[in-house]
Symmetry: C2
Subunit: 509 residues, 2 copies
Amino acid sequence: MSEQKAFSTNSSYEALTDRFRRASLIGDALGILDWDQATTMPEGSAEGRAEQIATLSVMRHELLVDSSVGENLLAAQEAFQDADAESWDAANLREMQRSYAYAAAVPGDLVEAAARANAVCEIKWRGARAANDFASLVPALQTVIDRVGDIAQARSEAFELDPYDALLDEFEAGTRVNQLDPLFGALARDLPGFVEEVLAHQASKPAPVLPDGPFPVAIQRALATKLMDALGFDFGAGRLDISHHPFCGGAAGDVRITTRYSEEDFTESLMGVLHETGHALYEAGLPELWRYQPVGKALGMAIHESQSLLIEMQVSRSRPFLEFAMPHMQAAFGADGTAWEVENFYRLYTRVERGFIRVDADEVTYPLHVVLRYRLERALLFGDLPLGDLPGAWNDGMRDLLGIAPPDDRLGCLQDVHWPSGAFGYFPTYTLGAMAAAQLYGAAQRDLPNLAEDISAGQLSPLIGWLRTHVHGQGSFCSAEELLTAATGEPLNPQVFLDHLRHRYLGDA
Amino acid sequence: MSEQKAFSTNSSYEALTDRFRRASLIGDALGILDWDQATTMPEGSAEGRAEQIATLSVMRHELLVDSSVGENLLAAQEAFQDADAESWDAANLREMQRSYAYAAAVPGDLVEAAARANAVCEIKWRGARAANDFASLVPALQTVIDRVGDIAQARSEAFELDPYDALLDEFEAGTRVNQLDPLFGALARDLPGFVEEVLAHQASKPAPVLPDGPFPVAIQRALATKLMDALGFDFGAGRLDISHHPFCGGAAGDVRITTRYSEEDFTESLMGVLHETGHALYEAGLPELWRYQPVGKALGMAIHESQSLLIEMQVSRSRPFLEFAMPHMQAAFGADGTAWEVENFYRLYTRVERGFIRVDADEVTYPLHVVLRYRLERALLFGDLPLGDLPGAWNDGMRDLLGIAPPDDRLGCLQDVHWPSGAFGYFPTYTLGAMAAAQLYGAAQRDLPNLAEDISAGQLSPLIGWLRTHVHGQGSFCSAEELLTAATGEPLNPQVFLDHLRHRYLGDA
């Protein structure tokens, strides 16, 4: 640890930590403003809020591209040369360099042009989706695509990466097409047949029954709170609120998740809350000492999604968890009967269906939705797919992969906000996250022999403790690949996920 | 208007407007963070929030003291020389100079030392008040007083003002001791006898009856919302929430007020809401074109308080308003009987009582609380009152002015947060505001002959329109004195307030 001391008295490094601390706190302020906008803000205040957010974003960007940053990074690197390359300070310096490289790779006017194009297109998209009118979106979306292409090009040159890799890398460092192509190729090849098998298997068993409502919102909230509490969510440093699109946001030490409730069906909202709780536990478990430094932040979006999917898919949709949760559900709604048996809820929560909408998809069909988007976004950006042909290509892809085609674009290529908001290279992280979740959960089961019994008894702390040690508390100290290897014994191995699917959906477990 | 064009193409002035716009938007972000902290934030997140707020505050300060600001101000002044001195751009430049002078007059390390002393002392104060332990507050409060003294000295030199004037001037530009001394001297001389008269007069009439509760919070809120709505509060660009200490905050175009409810007595909370609504209407009515510029901001705290007191004291506690509100109150709580007659509520809402606590004081005794604080804060800062002698001096002053002395310091010199948080020179604005409110309301009555009838019919828009024209929409275009003169025909005239008191509390009106 002596090297940490040496580093921390280096004046260039100190100047950097001050600067990144400030940028991090601006990010926290933005997190609260975003949360407020989605949950609380009066409708008429949207314009002013956009100005506030733009101002803080620009100021944060300016902090990171200031000419002193490059100089201080060089000087600090020099000073760190003989020091312990395995220290947190060294990792922090590495993450600072990454942030700086990202901020500096793209000229400010391109950043601004892209932000404006995204903002315009996102608003257009809302109207186009509501009106099922893809054609009206084309001009704005083409501008977004052009700017994303420019950004990919600029980063490609700065980082010597394939342009699409330069997009992927932003969301999950180290993700590359040459890893995704074989992975997604195998999914596209094997998963459609697997879905057939699962549907046949499922048809041989009784269909699940949806419990009868109504389910008052206040009771749903109290039930969700109880389960969040069991998972270790700290309401002294976090909140649960309502928003149209559920998310996990807020600030360091103030982690806020949201959901939406339907009084007819509580089961979806409940799983949504548990999903966001997985994200929140990650944020809350990041290393406190490094809270405002780059190395103290969450790894990329794939690892983030692995934490939500681990809690939702691996834990909460399992029989042991439902055994724990069932008495609480019954007590909350004063209900009993066959619909309220663990086995029925298990069938309900592992139901596989071919559907048009990604966010409603089960864990078996979900990767096919991702493969479709992965193919199409590359073709739009760097291939030969004209934007006007997207709806046709979308529907062809759906038929190919899922055997169904949407009746309209609202249920097709207009469903997601990602492309209109400029997020290209993001979709793959959902499936990488599902795979990492399965692999991490497998390792936790190996390390914690009583895990199933603990969970069915409502004892979640051994699992959460394991995640704190192996994932949350690691921040961005090492790469995702190193983290997975240290926690599970090997880098990302898609077979673990596929085995999980086979076991859960074709076994009788 | 041609001069406005000339100005706005001046590059120095444009650089300034960009910079002040940014500072204003940071201020808006701070407004939302403050609001969230008081209403919504989990308790355990206080430390992180303090860091966010400190970071944004420092960045805003840095914007305003940047070396380019002074240069651009000089260049813009030069360019404005031959232009219309009466234009909004000229007024904006003047307000920029004022902001810059304030930011630049005090060295950064003193600003920081004072902020830290205030933060430490405010926390100490909470404990000391709860424990009724003034002695434990003395060291921290002495540090605050020392730093405030240093700031007053620095400003005194920069602005060539008496040091206490330099403190007053921050909260209400142009306020001077040589104006306050005769004013508060006259109040100290005449008001105690007047209170005697009022109490005797009041004793000759039936005592008001407090309506019987309980009053459910949800119904109180709905009632408050209805009256806010009648006053023109726009819920599409504002909110009403709960906090321990009621306030008006938020951001430009997003004005948020708070209250607290007691289920035993709704009358206090309701008046509190109407008071904050007065502040909110001012903020919402500021000139939209100048929203993010210094000239578009509210004038000082005295004019702000005049707007809350005009709505609360002049309007809401009047018979015409109670005639309008009474059916709504009765309907809300399903109540009737003698307690629910306008005359009873009028007596309740104009009840005069000698009390220890300033925030609970009626409008007759309130100025005496202010005079006490005015005398004592000057003696602490620039006179010969040692801090250890404050409790005794407080109790002597209370006996002098109000004829009662508090049984302990919790009800005495520990009651207010102002001094522990470094706000010296603030208290006088409450009474200046009360006087301006009476004077402005008198002018509105003169200009709107049907005002009483309109109000009793629930037609508040003529009055609010008058305030928009004469106060809200003026922003900081002119000084408070000029604003009062333009609206009422004369500068601040305390006699109007005293006449109002005599009329309301000794007349039979």
